[in-house]
Amino acid sequence: MVDIPFDEVAGIPPAEVGEVELYHPHSWWTRYVFSQDAKVIAVQYSITAMSIGMVALVLSWMMRLQLGFPGTFSFIDANQYLQFITMHGMIMVIYLLTALFLGGFGNYLIPLMVGARDMVFPYVNMLSYWVYLLAVLVLVATFFVPGGPTGAGWTLYPPQAILSGTPGQDWGIVLMLASLILFIIGFTMGGLNYVVTVLQARTRGMTLMRMPLTVWGIFTATVMALLAFPALFVASVMLLLDRLLGTSFFMPTLVEMGQLTKYGGGSPILFQHLFWFFGHPEVYIVALPAFGIISDLISVHARKNIFGYRMMVWAIVAIGALSFVVWAHHMYVSGMNPYFGFFFATTTLIIAIPTAIKVYNWVLTLWRGDIHLTVPMLFALAFIITFVNGGLTGLFLGNVVVDVPLSDTMFVVAHFHMVMGIAPIMAVFGGLYHWYPKVTGRMLNEALGRFHFWVTFIGAYAIFFPMHYLGLLGMPRRYHDIGETTFVPASAHDLNAFMSVAALIVGFAQLVFLFNIIWSLFKGKEAGSNPWGAASLEWQTPETPPGHGNWGKDLPIVYRWAYDYSVPGAAGDFVPQNEPPAGLATQGAHP
């Protein structure tokens, strides 16, 4: 062991970094509605995201009803099915997961975890939420306009996204693009805050290598999102102009319902490049915060430091950087230059290595730990299983020639639901069960939590694991009804019906969770300030829930990393980050 460099035993002055001029609410409105407090904004983001997520959940029931029992439900036709899949995908990926991880978890945890009083630009942070809400409202409005929401698929590929023959061609697609543009503007405002807060507002002693991995994950994801979302912005603006002004950015010479259009010369592939330049980093924008959260959950609940912290940080940074050079693996069969396939297959499979390291380090953290099988821990374990499963099928789809038969089949649907649907949602749930006591001061009900966990995990696995095999069979995605074929046996329909039943059950289990959240708010067990015995800074606030300004009179001083669990020689099985080393006198440090 290397000797431990101690500070000279002298007084350390109270921390003075990042004393932002705090904004003080004066009325109920500015305290709870137009609040500039990151913690309130976080709750607003989370509630909005989960509400719109419920809409997407109901849409998924509709899709599963149609797929499991084609022809039974007369209120779902081909057009509606396409609208359902489009809105389900768009909402889940962008308006739920991105907003919840960055706007929800990011806003709540970043200032608390790095020891700041608030985000650095609280006013911009507030605007971010309201623009996001506007984007959500515009999105919801598409359900009520003539023609309904767009049915172009969440990828919105031109030409079909803006031509007749696709549902929602009049209003749906226009509002969809407008909503995306608003979302990106709102996100940029929030994203600036998350990044600059980590850069500038860390409290004294909080070096980068002492930050919890949750902050690393959210920070890196935000940097990626800030650079990648402009691609979606540009693509959306150009597609909107093609639709409204008749320009031909993406539109080649083509025939629409037998009539030659005025479009000409454009390139649909250009849109795909722009879309996936955003779209692939987006996968990691959702995954990296989940990685971070899972690392912290496992460490806290196994009472053990995260194994290989440095490797974990490097892997996050490496994944973030690499994810900008793999986008075209979504386009292997798009008709782009086939020789790109060699490059993108190689980069894609290389990214598997840092990702695999993260998985190894999670399970190695469990090794010789003191594993408390709490609800957050259960969700963390389920995350590992679903993420490993989905990550490994990514090795099929990333390997260019293997992708050829599998692309655009149910295999792809199963893969991305497992890896960026179920797995991140497991992280979301784990995170909610873990931090709910800090947000509200009360624990979520344990029994309901366990019920919710088992139904959600086993149910979701039962939906998406068999779905891979429908894809192997050759069943294409985005079909409301496979109809008569020579290659799909009747038994596949039974499998579909089984998956649909599982989906309905999993969906209803979420109602239990909602009930738990509301019930525990009033009747939950009092949590105290640090129910899990966690070492990171957010559990060391003087009040729970943390008050305005988070830290009372003085900012905390950080003396150690966030993972001092079961340290040999220490009295308890964890040492809080702001506990000074033995023998170090302090003045004015946090009591």
Partner: protein, 277 residues
């Protein structure tokens, strides 16, 4: 233990499902057996990793779950172990990537003796065009599309006059002869997808994409559209009939050329009718 057991069961059930699943590839009908082999190899490697990770996790949960008085070990990192795991992972990844790239190289290298066949997608039907006696397809342009010329073929291109146009009918192909499929769309994105051939590629309005394969067994195969193309995407069907050379030529003889279809529209139809009688 219940939790550890369930975790283990998830892995075991996944493997059993994989082994006993009746849902598997449709029997292959093209030369792309290598693709299937690469997938099987990938299944072996990834399946082993999946089982190993979950088994290890389940063991940890079983062995190290919280008991009164247990204290976790203190172990910040183990450089050597991490490097070894990285190297082993890299080797595994290379073992999947290398054959993949080799097969991809074959996939993008069209053999010289491949015959051109054009597939045209439009909302929501398939049309086909085969070269005539000259073995060459004529040029086409979406601006030339009209009710008389639904595929937009260039009437001034001498190469195109003897092209055989197959509309609202099945495509026939001779068995054992490599085919270069030229893919064209006149409205939105489509994707010519025959599950038994394994190969697929999007068709993009404004450009011509391609892939190649060799049909290896006779039969009739479904054609589906694999790229979302609007309302009737799921109903955009056709068939490919792979036949012995003799039957194929008999079918070919019965088809009509572009010149017959456009120039002498009515005459050709009459001739066709009399020919059948």
């Amino acid at each position: 233990m219940a939790v550890a057991l369930v975790l283990l069961l998830v892995a075991v059930a996944s493997v059993l499902f994989h082994i006993y699943s009746p849902w598997w590839w449709t029997p292959i009908a093209s030369n792309w057996r290598y693709i299937d082999d690469t997938i099987n190899l990938t299944f072996w490697i990834t399946g082993a990793v999946f089982c190993a990770v979950i088994a290890f996790m389940a063991y940890c949960v079983f062995r190290f779950h919280h008991k009164e008085g247990r204290r976790a070990a203190y172990n910040p990192e183990n450089k050597k172990l991490e490097w070894w795991l990285s190297i082993v992972t890299a080797v595994g990844v290379a073992a999947m990537l290398a054959p993949g790239l080799v097969v991809w190289h074959q996939f993008v290298t069209v053999p010289d003796d491949a015959t051109d066949v054009e597939v045209v997608g439009q909302q929501w039907m398939w049309s086909y065009r085969l070269p005539g006696k000259d073995g060459r397809l004529g040029t086409s342009d979406a601006r030339l599309i009209s009710p008389d010329n639904p595929l937009g073929l260039n009437p001034n291109d001498p190469n195109g006059q003897d092209d055989i146009v197959v509309q609202s009918d099945d495509l026939h192909l001779p068995v054992g002869k490599p085919v270069k499929v030229l893919l064209r769309s006149i409205d939105v994105l489509h994707d010519f997808y025959v599950p038994e051939f394994r190969a697929k590629m999007d068709m993009i309005p404004g450009s011509v994409t391609y892939y190649w394969f060799t049909p290896t067994r006779t039969g009739t195969f479904d054609v589906l559209c694999a790229e979302l193309c609007g309302t009737a995407h799921a109903q955009m069907r056709s068939r490919v009939v792979v036949q012995e050379a003799k039957e194929y030529h008999a079918w070919l003889e019965r088809q009509r050329t572009f010149a017959e279809l456009s120039g002498q529209h009515d005459v050709a139809k009459a001739a066709y009718r009399t020919g059948r009688e």
